[in-house]
Amino acid sequence: MSETKTVRITIDGRSIDAPVGQTVLEAARQHNIDIPSLCYHPGVEAFGACRLCVVEIRKHNWTPDWKQLVTSCLFPVEEGLIVETRSPEVMENRKVVLDLQLARVPNSDVIRQLAAEYGIHDTSYEKREDADDCIMCGLCVRVCDAIGAHAISTLSRGPEKYVDVPNKDACIGCLACALTCPTNAIEYIEEGNMRTIWDKTFEVVLDPVNKKPIATPEQIAHFSKQSGLPEDYFTKSDATRKKETAASFARVMFD
């Protein structure tokens, strides 16, 4: 068995051994040190957009008064790294960032609650008119790309940037975007065996036993193609599949 090389870093005074290749955020979370973040998801490549995970670092070979703010979800651990996750500078920036987000999505419960934790109850800035709850973290787009559907995308740029579905045909109705959205900004409707997301309505395959929605046929075809597994593998819930497997074993064993 090969040994994973580790480095020793210090986060908020705690000494931690972190495997080489890990980011500061990953190392901190593994040791239950809270660094807030909105755009990070372990399933996709880190992005560095929300700026909440920005922390202060020092290095052992730097002069003692020299420090730097870095993005912890992107910054790789290295031997002797000293990290402060709640220094005055870090907290100040987090407040400004949350203040800005609150101006962008004044109606989002998630952001309001997070901002309140940092003592911000009302934004110092002009609130966005007709604001939805999207904080432009780009997670939905990254998840859609990771799944391989490439249906949604960010459009335009700067303050006008938004997420939309330029490639509606490619949407498989899997809901991954909506379910990973940190502010629940992507709306979808599920009624009986019908599901609507991004203005596209899908029929949903129901579990043969418990009649709960499983997946859309488009989703099943996509996953089957990607995984090489037969389509009927995806048409049942895990619970039903387990039961069936157990029943088939029972037939083999006891018949």
């Binding site: 500078e89 920036n93 110092s124 904080i135 700067g158």
Partner: protein
């Protein structure tokens, strides 16, 4: 005509050919260089060329009698931009050093008859040394301070050669640096020479080029990509465009030398699609060099392999940022990434990549052919060589200027640029593009180099220089740059995307007279976060237009907020237009007013109705008698005389 070989297989074959071309051109007595830069073309340079062609044909017998045969001893050609776009279309006659400005097709006849046949200048086309119609004329272009005070290295061929003509380039020491590198230097020596020259990245950051190249050599990888950043996008800056338009071969030669030094086999030139002439000329040059064996496999028999492609960007400002540029080059959305791993290790396609700016590459051939010592003898202690500036704004002589680093702002603006239009008071110079800053009059004697201006809250950057007079509102200037950056932000990270939007909204209300107590402090706090917590250089640099104007012109912000006063006479909500006693009653303003706000009769004083006036300023622009004043809070802020010192 000398027959050009199909391909050059050895350095000697190239030099021999250059020698033959040189001999052939010795018979050339006279060259008419027509500037075919975009500005001169827009002004009718190509129509002039057609007209000149006709006149030359019509006068062929007389010209021949005078010893001038069109096509051999007399050549007319289109060159790249001469740099003095303001005075275009420009025509230069060599070797007489005659410099004609504002040339129209109708002047072709007199140029042929007076200058070519009689050897006399056409007086009305000569450059006026004091910027007035009847003023003293410059007989030679070397008499013009704008040119005489320059020292052209990156611009050495710009405006002198036909950028589409390979032989023209060869004649001007073309490929001399490349041949020297390939035949007399090891790759290590090439990198050392660039390092010793002290060349720093001309794109703005000023990172030592030699150090970048050396660090690339230390990354042991099979392949290193070589990329040229031609995504210039600063408002008012056009030095890289002009180099690519006017001298594409030099840029490619610089890249070839770099490829030899770094062992790079593949490269890209990334140019914005909005630079069609640069795209056209570079494409032409690449195709031509491929055909001649100067790009591709075993270049000049030296074993150097280098494939070069051109990649066109969509013109997003942020794509000039290195990590965004590389994403764009990969065909992805041009969004920057955190640069915790340097691009010399992981850049284009996550492979080692060396990225340099157009002007940086353009300096390399001269450094190799003339030596590192020669280059480092120019400039200041830490900023060597020359720098191209695009001098624009309220200066008499706008255009491209290349001077050794360390020249003062005053020398550039007053000696080369001729000072402020109408001799109005200087207020500020904005340097370094949108992430740069504004410097006031008491900083005019600062030497311009990478470090000095940065210390003062501005920066030299890629060389943009926008001169402003007293009729400029510094809050409005800050607002302009913030708007630009807000439009050009990629929108990925919060401090840049949301921060710029909010800074803009605050500045907007200040300029509308709706500024609030505490707005300045709110901007400062926000700018601090943008500076330290944004993801890329665009966001980190975005606060500087605001911070530098706050540093040097804070009173203007305070006047806007507290007194609703705009001393520049710019912010529409804070000003009125008023016609003074000098009005002759000519009715011109009255006829031009789009809202019929002006009343008056012939030879009687006109009056502006404030309720109808939309402060468009047309009346002031059309008035020949300086009778329209701009008033803010009861004070004349812009009248005939400068309002405030």
């Amino acid at each position: 005509m000398i027959k050009r070989p199909k391909a050059f297989k050895t350095p000697k074959s190239l030099l021999d050919y250059a020698e033959k071309v040189k001999k052939d051109r010795d018979s050339r007595k006279l060259e008419v260089r027509i500037c075919a830069g975009p500005s001169c073309v827009a002004g009718g340079a190509l129509e002039f060329r057609d007209e000149l062609q006709k006149e030359l044909d019509a006068h062929a017998p007389q010209l021949k009698k005078a010893g001038l045969t069109v096509g051999t001893s007399l050549i007319e050609k289109c060159t790249g931009c001469h740099g003095m776009c303001e005075a275009g279309p420009l025509v230069i006659l060599e070797p007489m050093e005659i410099f004609y400005t504002h040339v129209k097709p109708k002047h072709a006849k007199s140029i042929v008859e007076t200058t070519l046949l009689e050897g006399e200048p056409v007086k009305e086309l000569l450059y006026s040394l004091d910027f007035t119609k009847g003023g003293e004329k410059a007989k030679h272009h070397s008499d013009i301070p704008f040119y005489a005070l320059q020292n052209r290295i990156a611009l050495k061929n710009v405006g002198t050669i036909d950028p589409t003509n390979f032989e023209d380039f060869l004649l001007n020491d073309g490929f001399k640096g490349l041949v020297k590198a390939l035949t007399t230097m090891t790759p290590e020596e090439v990198v050392d020479a660039v390092d010793e020259s002290g060349l720093r990245g001309r794109g703005g950051a000023g990172f030592p080029t030699g150090r970048k190249w050396k660090s690339a050599l230390r990354v042991k990888q099979d392949r290193v990509w070589l990329v040229c950043n031609g995504d210039e996008g600063d408002p008012g800056a056009f030095m890289d465009r002009v180099i690519m338009d006017s001298d594409p071969y030099t840029v490619i030669e610089g890249m070839l030398i770099a490829a030899y030094g770094l062992g790079a086999t593949d490269g890209y030139i990334y140019v914005r699609h909005e630079y069609p002439l640069a795209v056209k000329h570079l494409t032409m040059a690449i195709e031509n060099m491929k055909a001649l064996g100067l790009l591709g496999e075993n270049i000049l028999g030296s074993g150097l392999n280098f494939n070069l492609k051109l990649s066109r960007g969509g013109g997003a400002f942020v794509c000039g940022e290195s990590s965004a540029l590389m994403r764009s080059l990969e065909g992805k959305v041009g969004e920057p990434r955190a640069k915790y791993v340097r691009s010399v290790e992981k850049g284009f396609k996550d492979e080692p990549t060396v990225l340099n700016n157009v002007e940086t590459y353009a300096c390399v051939p001269s450094i190799i052919s003339r030596g590192a010592d020669w280059f480092s003898s120019m400039g200041t202690a830490k900023s060597k060589g020359t720098k191209v500036f695009s001098l624009v704004g309220k200066v008499k002589q706008t255009g491209l200027v290349e001077v050794p680093m360390g020249r003062t702002l005053r020398e550039i603006i007053y000696d080369i640029g001729g000072g402020i239009i109408d001799d109005r008071p200087f207020k500020a110079v904005q340097t370094g593009g949108p992430s740069g800053g504004c410097l006031p009059a008491d900083k005019l004697d600062l030497p311009v180099d990478f470090d000095t201006l940065t210390r003062e809250g501005a920066m030299m950057g890629s060389g943009g220089m926008i001169v402003m007079d007293d009729q400029t509102c510094m809050v409005d200037v800050a607002k302009y740059f913030i708007k630009f950056l807000s439009d050009e932000s990629c929108g990925k990270c919060v401090p840049c995307r949301e921060g710029l939007k909010q800074v803009y909204q605050i500045l907007d209300r200040i300029t509308k007279g709706e500024g609030r107590e505490g707005d300045i402090e709110l901007i400062e706090k926000l700018c601090h976060t943008m500076e330290v917590a944004s993801l890329c250089a665009l966001g980190k640099g975005a606060p500087f237009p605001v911070l530098s104007t706050l540093r040097f012109f804070r009173e203007e912000y305070e006047e806007h907020i507290h007194d609703k006063f705009c001393r520049g006479g710019v912010c529409k909500e804070l000003i009125n237009f008023h016609i003074n006693d000098s009005c002759t009653g000519c009715m011109v303003c009255l006829r031009h007013c789009p809202t019929e706000a002006i009343t008056g009769e012939r030879k009687k004083l006109h009056v502006i109705d404030d309720d109808k006036c939309i402060s468009c300023g047309i009346c002031r622009n059309v008035c020949k008698f300086d009778s329209v004043d701009i008033i803010s809070q009861g004070k004349i802020v812009a009248g005939k005389e400068p309002a405030m010192a």
